[in-house]
Structure formats: C-alpha cells, structure tokens
C-alpha cells in the first residue's frame, strides 16, 4: 500500500469553557491514502466536522489543537503558523461545505471566485486562470462553461452550485479534499450525481477524500473505508463492507440497526441504545382523551379534488408581462380513516404546497378540499375554525418552528387557549401530560426552546400538534433535519400515535426508506403533478410511472447492511 497522503495521529481539540475544558475531539487517529474515500460518520456533536476543521486550521477560537499530530504528504502541518496554514488551505487541502446555497459569495460571479483562488495559489496570469477555470467548470459537467463563467451563484440550481464548489475546491489540484456533508442539502437525484462526480475525481486525480456525513446510504454507496465517531472518540474504523456488514462496537451496531431499510418493513424502529436511555411512552393515558369512534361518514377522512396553485414568478406592470409558476397542478387524492398517506418527490415538486393548501395556509386557485364529507373551501369562519382544530401540522425545522421567546409550556398551551378546549385550570395539567407523553422531562414546560436538542424540539412540536386533539396530522419532512438515531425515536412516536389514537396522517418526505416504513399508501409528485398513487409495498415492488422507477433506482442500496 502507498504512503498515506494525510495522517491524523492522536488528535485532541480543546475548548476552554466556564465549566472546565471541553474536548469535542479526543485522541482521534486515522489515515487517508491517495484516491481513497474515507467516510466519517456519527451523530451531530460527535466531532466529525471539528476534526476536519482542526486539520485545515479553521477552528474557531477559543477551540485549539492541544495534542496530537497531523501529517500531510510527509510534512507535519499542525505546528505551522497561521500564514503557512493559510497557504496550504485551498492549495493542498480543498474543502466542501454542506450548503451550496450559502458557500458562494452572492455578489461575485462564479468566474471571479474561481479566478481569484487560482491566481492566489498558482500565480497564473488572468487569461490563463480563466482558461483553467472554464476547463474545470467543464470537468464538473456544467453545460456552456464559458457562458456560465460570468453568471452569479443565484443563477445556478443547488446541485450546480455544489459542482461549482467542487470545482473551486479542486482548482489548485489539492491532494486532500474534505467534504463536510456535501449532499445533505440536495435532492436524491442530484445527490447521486454529485457523489458520482466526487468518486470519479478521487480516482482520476488520486485525491484522498474525507467524506463527513450522517447518511448511511451515502456511506454505503460512495466510501472505501469508514471511521465511526461517538462523542469525540473514534469507536471503530475499517473498510466500508466490514463496518456495515460486521460491526464490532456496540455503538456502530445500534447505529446501523437504526437505519431505515428500503426493502423490508419493520413494526418499530430499533433504537440506538448505546449511551441513550430509552423512554417508555404512556400512550394509553393519552388515548383516553380521544374519541376514536368518531369515524368519517364516507371512510375517507380527506379528499382532495383537482387542487391547483400558481405563484407569481415575475411581476410586471401589464398582466401580459407577468409570469406564473404552477406549483401544484390539478392534484387529486384521498386519505382513508386511520391511514398514513405518503407524498414523495424532489424539492420543488409541490409536496409542501399541497400540505399548506390542505392546512389552509395557502388559498386554493381552483379545486376542492373535502374533510369528513364537508367542503373546506366553502366553509364559513366558524366551521373553518373547527376544521383547523381537527388538522395540525408538524414542520421540518424544529429550530425555526418554535417561537424562541416563549416557554415550552406556553407554546403547547397556545392552541388549547385559542380553540378554547379546556378551562384555564385544566390547561396546565394537560400541557404537562402532553410533554410527558412525548417523552420530555417533568420540568420541560418551564424552559425555553433553545435549551433542547433538535430531537427534543421536534417532540415539543408533536406535543403542540396534539394539544387540540386533532384527527388529522400533516407531517412535512418531520425527520429530515435529524440524526438517524433521533429520527428512529421520532418515527416511533408517530407510529405509536397512529396506532393508539387512530390518527390519520399525511406524511411528506423525500427519504424513500423512511416513507416505506411509515406509510400505507404513497403518492409520487413531480413538477406539481401527482404522477402515481399506490399501496406502499406494491409501489416499491412494481413502480408504474418511469419517474417513480428513476427515484427508486437512486435509492441507496445498502446491500452491505447486516
């Protein structure tokens, strides 16, 4: 085997805090060979990104490397001064960040940013740098690179921008590339393209790649070797097949068990038990408040008939100059009592718009929404209020969907106040009951949202949604901002609610394995149209529409999983 291009030995990062020294990375050791793609997995806060930042010298003070060595091409780089480290950054080590929408400066053209980096590190003349930049854009498969060179980042789609970022990271032929969650913000199909590009470039240019991710599908499809991290430590390293197929450490085992399988359906998700205390949910108490005999008259709780929504895309003085974008185009489906109906599709396909139209957050341009036999679009104020009480929403981002200035107890109590469901004296106990049901500690109601982790916040959102005793729950990507292990917990809560309370759900996701686990029937959306609706099992076994087949093909195989 060749010598490693990058070698991390016993690396420890320290952050001094008021409560003593915190070590987000402790005694981390791994090697990276030319052309190798090494996946680094673990939950958020496990120290994956921090290790990368320490290697490249981008730690935010007061964080600093306190112990260990970093060797790049046989040269020790952790002891270099700031100026020498800066010279290595971008020249010998390239970096890609998670969100391509924010990693490019919006006020400079793509070409300016490329030329700037090339000139800085290689000292080429402007025309030479330009030629090289265009060749690179061409290499990362950007069509018409010479024209695109002069465009601004906002004129590129998310996937295209990530290609530009890759071009920027590779423009000086570095020997190491650190990719920090490079595809987390991208759609499945775009994700596959970007990962393929990284794979090709790694082999073609013999670049060693560190791929930081929490997505096991990405690991399985892309990496050669894997390092598993847990709370600052490396718990296990090995080849991808070995880690996924025969994990030895308990944490790795439980983490892999929590990954939703695309091909078989399980009743409950296995929890990551390592270091976590599993809570029991006293769901039966909760069920006492629900009237489960309240079934709809037709057997269909919600019917959606030909709903359409267009948005103004380009304003104009004259109506003829205005351009509209049809976000949802003649969509019809129905959801039966107690069913979980999934909607899948890429971003921009109109899934969330459908959810918002059902939730009366957007008015319909045409079509009808019928809830329990009643036409929502024709409802008066009082009836609409009653309807809104029956449906509740859970949003994707638990960080922005809770008002940071309100106590958790008040957040959950608000819908009860608003719909005047209980008397003042009854509200407090009910709120505490709800928070207890979703598995939060007794004193949670007194705290503010920022005191909770992402998974706990999503539980607060669920408690809030349940406060009005709804019959219908709209979950818009409820777990896509969460780690695998937290995702498993949240999905289990939702499954329990559905089983015990007879809740009907609209479950929106772009993650097909999750949809497979959660949903009874699935609708596939593309460019505002609903292209196919099938029972979940038959959709995955015999997809009818070509687009559905395409989506299923892009799904990570995870063959190696034990």
């Amino acid at each position: 085997m060749t010598d490693p291009v990058l070698s991390i030995r016993n690396l420890t990062v320290e952050i001094p805090t008021r409560h003593g020294i915190f070590k987000p990375v402790e005694h981390v050791t791994y090697d990276l060979h030319p052309g190798e793609i090494r996946g680094v997995v673990g939950e958020s806060g496990a120290g994956k990104s921090m290790t990368g930042n320490a290697v490249i010298g981008l730690l935010d003070p007061p964080a600093h490397v306190s112990e260990g060595e970093v060797w790049l091409n046989g040269r020790r780089i952790d002891e270099l001064d700031a100026e020498d480290k800066r010279r290595i950054r971008g020249k010998e080590i390239g970096m890609i960040f998670q969100d391509p929408l924010t990693s490019l400066n919006p006020l400079f053209t793509v070409g300016e940013q490329l030329v700037e980096t090339i000139q800085l590190h290689l000292g080429l003349a402007a025309s030479e740098a330009r030629k090289r930049a265009i060749a690179l854009l061409d290499r990362v498969s950007i069509p018409d690179p010479a024209d695109r060179f002069n465009q601004y980042p906002h004129q590129f789609s998310g996937g295209m921008r990530q290609r530009v970022v890759i071009a920027l990271a590779l423009c000086t032929e570095p020997s190491v590339l650190i990719a920090d969650e490079p595809t987390t913000a991208l759609d499945v199909s775009v994700q596959a393209q970007v990962l393929d590009l990284i794979k090709e470039l790694a082999k073609e240019r013999q670049v060693g790649v560190i791929l930081v991710t929490h997505d096991m599908g990405v690991i399985a499809d892309t990496t050669d070797t894997v390092t598993v991290m847990y709370s600052g430590h490396v718990v296990e390293s090995g080849t991808t097949d070995q880690i996924l197929g025969a994990p030895t450490h308990d944490y790795t085992k439980s983490l892999i068990a929590a990954v939703p399988r695309p091909h078989t359906k399980v009743e409950r998700f296995p929890m990551v038990s390592y270091g976590e205390r599993e809570r029991t949910f006293k769901i039966d108490d909760l069920a006492a408040h629900w009237d489960k005999t309240n079934l709809s008259k037709t057997g269909k709780l919600l019917e959606v008939e030909n709903i359409t929504k267009t948005f103004l895309q380009k304003g104009g003085l004259l109506p003829s100059q205005r351009q509209y974008f049809t976000a949802v185009d003649q969509v019809s489906f129905d959801i039966r009592d107690g069913e979980v109906f999934g909607l899948v599709g890429e971003s921009g396909s109109g899934k969330s718009t459908v959810a918002r139209m059902i939730g009366t957050l957007y008015p319909l341009d045409s079509g009808r929404v019928i809830f329990d036999g009643e036409d929502v679009t024709a409802m008066g104020t009082d009836a609409l209020q009653a309807y809104r009480r029956q449906i509740q929403m859970i949003f994707q981002d638990p960080f922005s969907s809770l008002n940071p200035r309100m106590r958790v107890g008040d957040l959950v109590a608000e819908p009860i106040h608003h719909h005047q469901i209980l008397s003042k004296a009854q509200i407090g106990p009910r709120v505490r009951e709800l928070l207890d049901w979703v598995g939060l500690a007794k004193d949670a109601w007194r705290k503010y949202p920022h005191e909770f982790s992402g998974g706990q916040r999503q539980r607060i959102c669920i408690a809030r949604a349940l406060a009005t005793q709804p019959r219908f729950l709209i979950c818009d990507e409820p777990t896509s901002a969460l780690d695998v292990s937290i995702q498993a917990q949240i999905l289990n809560i939702l499954k329990d609610l559905q089983d015990h309370l007879g809740l009907t759900m609209l479950f929106i996701s772009h993650d097909l394995p999750v949809v497979r686990q959660m949903c009874d029937r699935v609708g596939v959306m593309r460019q505002g149209k609903l292209v196919e609706v099938q029972e979940t099992d038959s959709l995955f076994a015999t997809p009818e529409h070509p687009y559905t087949r395409e989506l299923l093909d892009l799904m990570p195989r995870l063959k190696q999983l034990a």
């Binding site: 490249i56 981008l58 800066r86 010279r87 290595i88 950054r89 971008g90 020249k91 390239g94 970096m95 960040f97 969100d99 924010t102 990693s103 490019l104 400066n105 919006p106 006020l107 400079f108 700037e116 980096t117 800085l120 590190h121 601004y152 906002h154 004129q155 970022v165 920027l168 990271a169 380009k314 304003g315 104009g316 003085l317 004259l318 100059q321």
Partner: protein, 322 residues
Amino acid sequence: MLSYIIRRVAQSALVLFVVGLVAFSMFRFVGDPIDNMLGQERTMEDVERLRGQLGLDQPFPVQYVKFLQEAVQGNFGVSFRQGRPVAEILAERAPATLELAMVSAVFAIVLGIALGVFTAIRRGGFAANFIMSASLIGVSLPTFLIGILLIYIFSVELGWLPSFGRGEVVDLGWWNTGFLTASGLKALILPSITLGLYQMTLIMRLVRSEMLEVLRQDYIRFARARGLSDRTINFRHALKNTMVPVITIIGLQLGAIIAFAIITETVFQWPGLGLLFINAIQFVDIPVMAAYLMMISVIFVTINLAVDILYAFIDPRLRVSA
C-alpha cells in the same frame, strides 16, 4: 426593472402629495400672516382686502390645489416677508445648505464606513472598544450642544476656526461656493462635523454589526477554506455584502442631513435654507414654508428612489427578480 421604476415613481408622487397636504393643514396653526404684514394702523377692511388678495379666505384644500397648480409650473408664489419670488430666494440659499450637507455626508460616510470596518475586524481589541464607547457620545449628545462645544473649543479658546457664517464666497453666476477660498473652507469644518457626527456614528455602528453578521456566513468560511488572505476576505468579500443593507440607511440619512441642517445652521448662523425656514416660521411666511417643505420631501423621495435603483447594481440577485 422598468415597471419597478415606474411603480416607485408613482408611489413617490403620492408621497409628495400627502406630505404637502399635511403641511398645508398645519399652516393654520402657525399664526396669521396678516398680523405681521400690516402694521398697527390697519383697518378691518384692509385686513379683509389683503386676505382676499392672497387667497387666505379660502378653505385650505382649495389653497392647496391652487398651490399645486402653480407649483407644477415652477411658480412658488411670492414671499410675504421679502416680497420676492420664492423660487429666487430658494435658489439663492440652496448652495450654502447643499455644500454643507455634501461635506458632512462625505465626512459621515467615509469615516463611518472606515471605523465600522475597523471595529468589526478588531472586535474586542482596545482601540475598537474605545471607539465604540466614544461613539456613544456622538449618538447621545444633541446636535446644538455639539455645535456649541466645538465653537467654544476651536473658535473661542483656540481661535483656529470661525464661529459663524460661510466666510468668503465666490459667485459663479448660477451658484455661489465656499470651496474656492481658504476662509470658505475653514468655515465649513465645524458645521460639517456638527451636522455629520450623529450620522457618522450611526453608519459606523450599522457597518460594524452588519459586517460581524456577514463574517459569520458560510461563504466567508468557504473563502477562508480556499486560503484567501484576511485582507481579501475582509475588504473584497465581506465589505461588499455589508454594504447592501447599509446603503438604505445611508440614503435615508442623506435626506436627514439636509432636513436637520436647520439646527446646525441656526447655531452657526449659516445662511442656508434651514435658517430661511426658521425665519419664515417666525413671520408665518406660508409660500416659503410650503416651498421649503416640498423641496425637502422631493429630495428625500429622490434619494430613496436612487437607493432602490442602486441596489440592483450592487446585488445581482435583484436584477432578474425585481
């Protein structure tokens, strides 16, 4: 883009109309101009006759419509006090105010941005903390007090700079300027600092907080990861992004500089529009007040319109979608 500009111009016209209406409705509370114009020996007939001549016996909406009809043709009437056309008086006074405003605006913008960037980059350093504390003085002291303090120090005690007036002025025919003589330039220093100090501290604090926000963005981290030098990152990548929101405030403040010139001009006896307006209020010189207020609102509205259009040049994202 064109429809955007047309819409903004239409909105601006509406704003001007409403400002004029409000101003006119308030003139009635300032006092009765007839009292000042006729001496002690007046008779009731004289008063009624003059009132009729000047059109002051009509309800204010009628007066306003008449004023607008004349104003759009460039005729702002005749000053009650001086008996000369208002347009002529304004044209005579405008250069003094505009030169003062221009110098203090340049002072406020250049120093404000420079200090803002400095305090953002050297955040927490001794010099930065000192500037931030000192800037509180600029924000909290009233303009007239700063003017009086400066006069006391530099004119009375040190005797370096004049305490009032414009100094020697050169008449260029259509414009009289203080830029071309030493005494004219000297006379500009104290009033400009007085007028611009508040705006300068405001711009500085705004630039600092915006810049700190921008420095936290991903594209700055990515720029660091590309190995760009701190200078390139701070002055090329961060500063341009900082300027987008700052420009709006600067635009509003430029209007404010001209409007707030009233106080500074009074303190320094600066022969500009502000002093003219103060004198007009004392004499209830309605044509001068009306013309002055309309002119100030035209300046405000024009600057804001210019700022909105300037946005599109700085931020490419607005070019397509606006």
